[in-house]
């Protein structure tokens, strides 16, 4: 029973952290139309910054804030050259950025290369509770953080600032013709989204308690996209719904794939599961690109 409960806490923590991660992506793509296919880079930067700083005994809160800041900084590095590019180029450049970052993390010494980093302090560890109880408390912490970010992003989206983002997404020429400096808005949206991903990265580091470059492969970005389009682009509730459904399916299928079935090994079954993600993405794109919560007349995946 307690094992099952602990497992459930893990499931929910995944949902919550991914929701946070996707809220960042949604700010970039859903609201502003920036095709970021390298979102995992910001997750990685946040996670590594936190892991390294905390290993060197930095206060946890400070480390997390630093993770967000460094992620935002990296987004400028990427955005400054890339935001001038067309949609399809931006997609390619962001994917490349994340891949290069991962290769770099894998080959430099301060990240400990492929071995990764572990054994750093985690939040709430001073509480005299069992490991299972800690998992639930950590879940609550993640949920609280995500709720605050959710509310903040909703507030921004409804503000005049958010109106500019929506306008940029719909027709950036018109936004420019009416006097808006769209590049600065795009950079801001990219940086904010990156900071949110960096925050999710910090939480990921604490959640796994051990990170290595393998945790930050391109698949993570595509999972985030799947969650976003599943729930409905441009809607923060869509991120929640998408994450619940996605991890629900993921967990159910991993029940089936945790032991060999018939002639198939677990590796094969794990591969089949990713095939399933791919097929779901394709079917969504053909039959319901606006996602579950989206309406046709709203801003969807395409302009």
């Amino acid at each position: 029973m307690s094992m099952l409960l602990g497992y459930f806490a893990g499931f929910l923590t995944n949902v919550v952290i991914y929701t946070l991660f996707v809220i960042g992506l949604n700010l970039q793509f859903g609201y502003t139309g920036l095709i970021n296919f390298g979102h995992v880079a910001f997750l990685a930067v946040g996670a590594y910054t936190v892991a390294i700083l905390v290993t060197h005994h930095a206060p946890i809160l400070l480390a997390v804030l630093a993770g967000m800041a460094v992620a935002a900084l990296f987004s400028f590095l990427l955005g400054y050259p890339a935001l001038r590019l067309r949609d399809d180029y931006l997609a390619i450049v962001t994917i490349g950025f994340a891949e290069v970052l991962r290769i770099w993390l894998n080959n430099v010494s301060f990240t400990n290369g492929p071995e990764g980093i572990g054994g750093f302090a985690v939040p709430l560890s001073w509480l005299p509770v069992s490991h299972d109880a800690w998992r639930w408390l950590f879940l609550l912490l993640c949920a609280a953080v995500t709720a605050v970010v959710f509310a903040a992003v909703e507030y921004l989206a409804r503000s005049p600032w958010g109106r500019v983002l929506k306008a940029i997404r719909e027709d950036e020429d018109v936004a420019v013709a009416l006097g808006k400096n769209i590049v600065s808005y795009k950079l801001a949206a990219l940086a904010l989204g990156a900071a949110i991903a960096g925050l999710a990265g910090g939480l990921t580091a604490f959640f796994y308690q051990y990170i290595n470059p393998h945790n930050f492969e391109a698949t993570i970005t595509f999972e985030a996209w799947t969650i976003m389009v599943l729930g409905g682009v441009g809607k923060n509730w869509g991120a929640v719904l998408g994450a619940v459904i996605y991890f629900g399916l993921y967990t159910i299928t991993s029940e089936f794939t945790s032991s060999p079935i018939g002639p198939f090994s677990t590796d094969q079954l794990a591969a089949l599961r990713i095939v399933l993600i791919g097929v779901v993405l394709i079917l969504l794109m053909i039959y319901r690109p606006q996602g579950i919560l989206g309406r046709k007349e709203d801003l969807g995946l395409d302009r």
Binding site: P81, L85, D88, D267, Q268, L281, I282, M285, I286
Partner: protein
């Protein structure tokens, strides 16, 4: 130095063959196909299957690999892309769907063949360096270059001198015009996928002749391919070929200064540099010729 350039030309020849298909699909169908790399992988595994289980000499796997790749391309269009076109999906939907296809293809390959790296069964003497040359090249590597050149000549002839090739160029130049001016659009689309998918698959086989293959190979080829077509001017088939060779050389030459792991990164940075300085590529965006 010369040696790195030689290696670069070999790798570049493979990138070039695959990149031409990518750029054809891009310019004619307006599809940025992130699954293209996995179509390359697919071709390599078709060859592996024929090579290992039927004992077919690797050169004889090229025609069936081409056919299988072409079939995959056409099938993908019937099942996915044509449906999306009918629903007037936008470019982002196409990109996301192509990523879905990439994930599905790659993991189907893992499912059937496993994730480990594998080798074609090649005659040993093909791996011995050729005699008195200033650089070390194996017969296989030379054959790969020759094969790439022959494929190019074929593509060139097709685009230049056949009716369907001319129609493809017309559609790349001005899709809306060709809808009205009596170009058989469906036929052009089918042929684009035959060429694009077929060349991708053949490129995968050529890759397997110089490197071990694994299910991720196409994914890691995708960035150099994009770099090549951007370098050469997107939509420009000859530019893609030259871009492919250039990227190959840049990547291999970087090994002189940086750990080999950074090869991919170097190709990517070269692409960014080109995008920033010549947004239309070294040879300009233009029609397929």
């Amino acid at each position: 130095m010369l040696q790195f350039i030689a290696n670069g030309v070999v790798v570049g020849a493979v990138v070039a063959v695959t990149a031409v298909g990518l750029t054809l699909v891009y310019s004619i169908l307006k599809l940025t196909n992130f699954a293209h790399g996995d179509m390359v992988t697919f071709g390599a595994y078709v060859a592996l299957l024929l090579n290992l289980s039927l004992g077919l000499d690797i050169w004889w796997t090229l025609p069936p690999a081409f056919l299988a790749g072409a079939l995959l391309g056409v099938l993908g269009d019937r099942l996915i892309w044509s449906r999306m076109r009918r629903r007037q999906a936008g470019s982002v939907s196409f990109i996301v769907a192509s990523i879905g296809l990439a994930l599905a293809l790659r993991n189907l390959i893992v499912f059937f063949f496993g994730a480990q790296t594998q080798h074609f069964r090649l005659p040993v003497e093909m791996r011995q360096p050729l005699g008195p040359l200033p650089v070390k090249l194996t017969p296989d590597e030379v054959h790969v270059i020759v094969a790439a050149v022959v494929l190019f000549a074929g593509v060139h002839a097709l685009l230049r001198y056949t009716t369907i090739g001319r129609a493809m160029r017309a559609m790349a130049d001005n899709p809306s015009l060709s809808w009205v001016s009596g170009v058989d659009v469906d036929r052009v689309i089918t042929w684009t996928w035959i060429l694009g998918g077929g060349l991708a698959a053949v490129g995968g086989v050529l890759y397997g002749m110089i490197r071990p293959i694994d299910p991720n190979m196409g994914w890691f080829l995708l960035l150099p391919m994009f770099a090549a077509i951007i370098l050469g001017g997107i939509g420009n088939a000859y530019g893609a070929a030259v871009g492919g060779v250039l990227i190959g050389i840049i990547q291999e030459a970087s090994v002189m200064f940086l750990p080999a792991e950074y090869r991919l990164a170097v190709g990517f940075l070269a692409m960014i540099a080109v995008l920033l300085t010549y947004p239309r590529g070294l040879f300009g965006e233009r029609s397929l010729t």
